[in-house]
Symmetry: C2
Subunit: 412 residues, 2 copies
C-alpha cells in the first residue's frame, strides 16, 4: 500500500527515537491509555511508522521556551514518519491535520518543523495540479526566454479604479507583462471590485487589441467562497487571465475550489507565511509548503526575493525558487514569484544563484518610482535581466543601459 512520508526537524529533551514514536502514535491510532478494539492488525494497517531517525546535535537551551529537560539537554534530529494512503485517501485538509495537527502541541518536543513531504504517485491521478503553471503563464503573456516582468499597484490601497487603470495604461504601454493588486486591496470604499475590473480590463483589452500583447492582471479575489466565485466569473467575462488569492488567509479548501475552475491562472500570495516559518524550529519549511499548494492547483507562488526588505536570507530564497522549479510527479510546474524590495539590481545575483529565467520578477516602487517614470522602470528591469543572463555585474550593466543606470543611482 502506498505511503506518505513526512520529514521533520525536531528538538526534544527525550531520546529522539522515543519522541518520534510519540508523534507517530498521536498522529495515528494512539491515545494516552490503551483502549479496547485496538488490535495488532489494526495497528499494523493504520499506524504511522517511524521510518528513520537521524541524530544531529545536543543543545543546552530549548528552541521554544516553556518545556524543560531534567538533564538540561535537548536533542535535535531529523525524523521521517510515514502514513498509509488508506488513512485518509485523497483529502488535503485531513492530510494537513495528519502531518501538521496536534503534533506541534506534544510536550515531548521543544521544537518541531515539517521540512518535506513525499507523496505517492497516485496523487497525480487525483490532483490535476496547476492549470497553467510556467508554460501556461508564458503562453497567456507571450513572454519567452526571460522572466515575466511584473509590478504591484502602489500605494497598496487608496487609488480609485480610474487612477488604477491610468497606472495600468502607463505600465502596459511601457511593455509590462504582469500587474497585481496588493494583498491588502480587494474591494475598498473608493475602489469597488467590479468597477476596478471594468476600468482595468478596458485598458488591458484596448492595449491587447492594438498591440496583440495582453497584460496579465492578478485581481485579488480573496474572500468568501461565493464572492470569490462571482469575482472569478467577473474577471473571466471581462477578458482577464488571472486571479490572486492570499492562500493562507483563504485556506486550502477555498483555494482548491477556485483553482478547480481552471480558466484563470491563480497567483498565490503567501502573506502570513512569516508566522508559519520564521522560527527555525517551529512550523513548516517552504519545500513542504509549496507542494501542498501545487496539489491545490496554484500556478504562481511567492518566494520573496534576493536582498529583500524582509527577514529572509538569500540562501532561503534561493532554496524556495529551486523548490518551485523541481518537477512534481514529472510536472506540476509552479512559477516562482520573486518580490519584496526588488528593483533590478538583484537580477544578476538571482540568476547567478538559480540559473533560471522561469520567474515572475516583481518590482513595486522599483518600477513606479523610477526617476524617468514607470515606463523607464520596466525597461530598466528588462535590461537588468538581459545583463544577468549575460553574466554581467550591476556595475557592468549600468555602464551599458541608461535606464538601468538611473535605477542604480536611485535604489542602489
Amino acid at each position: 500500500m502506498e505511503r506518505i512520508v513526512a520529514t521533520y526537524y525536531i528538538e526534544t529533551p527525550f531520546a529522539p527515537e522515543k519522541a518520534a514514536a510519540v508523534l507517530a502514535g498521536e498522529q495515528s491510532s494512539g491515545t494516552f491509555v490503551a483502549v479496547p478494539g485496538e488490535t495488532e492488525e489494526l495497528k499494523q494497517r493504520f499506524a504511522a511508522k517511524v521510518e528513520e531517525v537521524t541524530f544531529l546535535e545536543t543543545v543546552s537551551e530549548p528552541a521554544i521556551p516553556g518545556a524543560s529537560s531534567a538533564t538540561g539537554q535537548y536533542h535535535r534530529a531529523l525524523v521521517k514518519v510515514s502514513w498509509s494512503i488508506e488513512n485518509f485517501g485523497y483529502n488535503l485538509p485531513v492530510m494537513i491535520s495528519t502531518l501538521q495537527g496536534n503534533l506541534y502541541e506534544i510536550r515531548q518536543f521543544t521544537g518541531l518543523k515539517l521540512l518535506d513531504i513525499q507523496l505517492p504517485a497516485s496523487f497525480a491521478d487525483h490532483y490535476k495540479g496547476p492549470a497553467f503553471g510556467i508554460e501556461g503563464c508564458r503562453k497567456l503573456t507571450q513572454v519567452y526566454n526571460r522572466p515575466l516582468i511584473g509590478t504591484i499597484i502602489k500605494p497598496s490601497i487608496g487609488l480609485t479604479p480610474e487612477q488604477t487603470a491610468e497606472t495600468v495604461k502607463i505600465l502596459a504601454e511601457a511593455g509590462i507583462d504582469f500587474v497585481k493588486d496588493d494583498e491588502l486591496m480587494s474591494s475598498s470604499a473608493n475602489s469597488p471590485f467590479e468597477k476596478r475590473v471594468d476600468a482595468i480590463m478596458d485598458v488591458i483589452n484596448r492595449h491587447a487589441d492594438k498591440t496583440g500583447k495582453k497584460v496579465m492582471y492578478a485581481f485579488n479575489i480573496s474572500g468568501e467562497i461565493d464572492e470569490m466565485m462571482r469575482r472569478y466569473e467577473k474577471i473571466l467575462a471581462s477578458g482577464g487571465t488571472c486571479a490572486m488569492l492570499s492562500i493562507n488567509s483563504v485556506g486550502i479548501a477555498g483555494v482548491k475550489k477556485i483553482t478547480d475552475q481552471r480558466a484563470l491562472a491563480i497567483h498565490g500570495h503567501r502573506n502570513g507565511w512569516g508566522m508559519l516559518t520564521r522560527h527555525p524550529l517551529l512550523g513548516i519549511e517552504f519545500t513542504a509548503y509549496q507542494k501542498l499548494w501545487r496539489l491545490a492547483g496554484v500556478d504562481q507562488l511567492h518566494v520573496n526575493g534576493i536582498q529583500n526588505k524582509f527577514w529572509e536570507s538569500d540562501d532561503s530564497v534561493t532554496t524556495s525558487i529551486k523548490a518551485c522549479l523541481e518537477p512534481m510527479f514529472g510536472g506540476y510546474e509552479l512559477l516562482p514569484v520573486v518580490s519584496s524590495g526588488q528593483w533590478g539590481g538583484q537580477a544578476p545575483e538571482t540568476y547567478r544563484r538559480t540559473q533560471t529565467v522561469d520567474l515572475l520578477y516583481m518590482a513595486g516602487g522599483g518600477i513606479m518610482a523610477h526617476p524617468s517614470g514607470a515606463a523607464a522602470g520596466v525597461v530598466a528591469l528588462q535590461q537588468a535581466w538581459q545583463a544577468a543572463v549575460h553574466g554581467l555585474s550591476v556595475e557592468q550593466a549600468a555602464a551599458i543601459y541608461p535606464e538601468f543606470k538611473q535605477s542604480v543611482e536611485k535604489f542602489g
Copy 2:
C-alpha cells in the same frame, strides 16, 4: 468612520514607536519608496494608525533568532494599530491578510504576536455568528445546568463503521451527550464516510426514538468544498445534528461556506494550533483567534484542558475558556470544548478556575478505558462535575462516588 483595532506584542531592536510605524506603513499604503499618487488625503483615509505603544522591557537576546541589534538590546512593547473599515469592508480573508499578513516578515521585528482584535459594531450586522452556540447546543442535546459530556472515538482511526456504531451504542446507553470522530478520521479505507454516518445515525436515531435523547455526533467532514457540502447534506438527511471541521486545515473561507448553511452545529477542531501560538513571541493568541472563528460561525471550539497532555499551561487554558464565554457584540456564544487527557479528575480544578458549566467536556481514553467499561466512564464524568460544582476535591468526590473512585485509581 469605524475602525478595527489590533493589539500586538512586539520585540524589536529599534525604538518600539519606530517599529510600530513600519508595521502600520507596510500594512496599509506603504512601500519602500515614495510613489506618485500617494497624496496626504489618501494617506489619512486609508493609512493604518499607531494608536498606542506601551513599553514593557528590554532584553539582550532576540526571541526569534536571525535578526541582530547593533546595541545588543531588544525592546518589548504592546502596540495598538487601527485600520478604517473602508480598507476592506467585511471580508475575513482580507482582514486576516491585513492584521496577520506580511508583518511577520518585517525585519524590524524579532518577535510579533497578535494578541487581540476589537471589531466595530457593524460587524454584527454582516456576520451572523454561531448558528447554535451554547444555547443551541444545549437545546439539541437537552443538557442543562451541567457541561455536555463527550468523548472521541478511539482508536483514532481503524475501526469499521459497524465497530464504531457498536461503540456509539454503548456510549448512548451510558448516557453520553456528545461523540466525535477523531480529526485524523474522515473517510478511511475501511470506514467510508457515508457508511459510517448510516451505521452511527441508525444507532443514534433508534436510541432517540426510545429515550427522547439524541446524542450529538460530530462527523468529521473536513475536505474540499463540494465534498464537505455533500457530507453535510448526508448528515442532515440522516438526522444528525453536528459536523466537525479542522478549522486550520480547511481554512476560513471553507469553514464559513459550511457554517452559512446554519442547519448543523459546527464543532471547530483547532488541530495545528500549536504551530500558530506555541512561541510566546510569534503568531497569534487564542483571544484574537477565537474571535475570527466566531465571525466565521463556528459553534464549538477546542480550548485544550486543565492538566492536559500537551505543552499548554493551565493558566493559558483558563484564559481560553473565559475568552470563548465573553460575549461578542452582546452574543455570539461559543461553546468551549475541553479536551486532551481529561478523565474527570480535572473537573474540580476546571470549575474552580472558570466557575462555569457551559462547556463541552471531552474525555477519550478517560471514558473508553474506564475499568468498568465506557458506561461507567460516562457516569464517572457526570459525578466529577457534580462534585466540582459542589466544591468538592478529587479525594472528597472519590469517597462518595464509586465509578469516579475507579477513575481516580486508574488515571489519577
